[in-house]
């Protein structure tokens, strides 16, 4: 059993907890889509030419897929960057409110995962150990 220090545990906890946030909201948008339709900004509908419901479904699928990649640590940095920027965009579109501040904080935490890179409990690390013979990667 590999030893994991508290310092090494921190990014694992952060990554897992944030992944669960994206997975929860993503699945909610897929299974309870009608409740989210009112939250789709008008500019997204006019720019994409898609219905609000389709945008909710796409956003849900997008968050679930990248959330799964983030929780398993598959392309950790890329997944964290995409989700972080995505959530930052959402928070900026919300104006100045409690939800926007919360989302801004979560997006910054996700971007922090991007800056940190891969941790010990990721598929990326497993790949590096097995196929590249190194764990020195960030």
């Amino acid at each position: 059993m590999p030893k994991i220090s508290l310092k090494e545990l921190a990014p694992i906890i952060l990554r897992t907890a944030l992944s669960l946030v994206f997975l929860w909201f993503g699945t909610q948008q897929l299974i309870n889509s009608s409740a989210w339709v009112n939250f789709v900004p008008d500019f997204a509908i006019s720019m994409s030419g898609l219905s609000a419901l389709t945008l909710v479904h796409f956003n849900g699928a997008f968050e679930v897929l990248f959330g799964l990649c983030l929780i398993t640590g598959f392309f950790t940095r890329a997944s964290a960057l995409v989700l972080g920027v995505h959530l930052l965009g959402i928070s900026l579109s919300l104006g100045f409110s409690a939800i926007a501040i919360r989302d801004f904080g979560l997006s910054m935490a996700t971007i922090a995962i991007f800056f940190y890179g891969i941790d010990k409990c990721t598929l990326d690390m497993l790949y590096l150990r097995h196929y590249k013979g190194t764990s020195n990667f960030s």
Binding site: N32, S34, A35, W36, P41, T54, A61, F66, F75, A78
Partner: protein, 136 residues
């Protein structure tokens, strides 16, 4: 540098394409289903509000009347001078049902403005539940 990030770019493109495929392959049929659900929902809402006079803006309620509707099965709240029957919204609120239940029978202005103040879409959603104004 580009060679190093190329796999990540390809990965992101693949995931976005998969998300698009999932959206259009698995939810296209559901779109119409959801639309019908929304219609059903509107009908349910109308049924729920059928006991209430139709000209909602002309009807005024006192805080004491609002306070009687303080259950999750019969939930009224007052926000910024309007009275709303938010019973159908409890199970559908993206932020969780508890947030709405906590407003049943009371003045929810502070909570609503704190969470959604200045946001257009929550205002629109709220407006659809209006049944009258608060009698001061």
């Amino acid at each position: 540098m580009f060679k190093k990030i190329l796999p990540s770019i390809i990965f992101v493109i693949i995931v976005v394409v998969i998300a698009l495929v999932i959206t259009f392959a698995f939810f296209t049929d559901e779109n119409s289903q959801s639309a019908s659900t929304q219609n059903t929902y509107s009908v349910e809402k109308e049924t729920l509000n059928s006991n209430i006079p139709s000209s909602s803006n002309n009807v005024s309620y006192t805080l004491a009347e609002v306070a009687k509707h303080n259950k999750s099965t019969d939930c009224w709240t007052t926000i910024n001078g309007g009275v709303y029957n938010v019973t159908p919204w409890i199970e559908k609120h993206p932020g969780g049902s508890e947030a709405i239940i906590s407003l049943c029978g009371i003045d929810g202005s502070l909570a609503f403005n704190g969470q959604h103040g200045g946001q257009e879409n929550p205002q629109k959603a709220l407006a659809s539940f209006k049944i009258g104004t608060l009698d001061k």
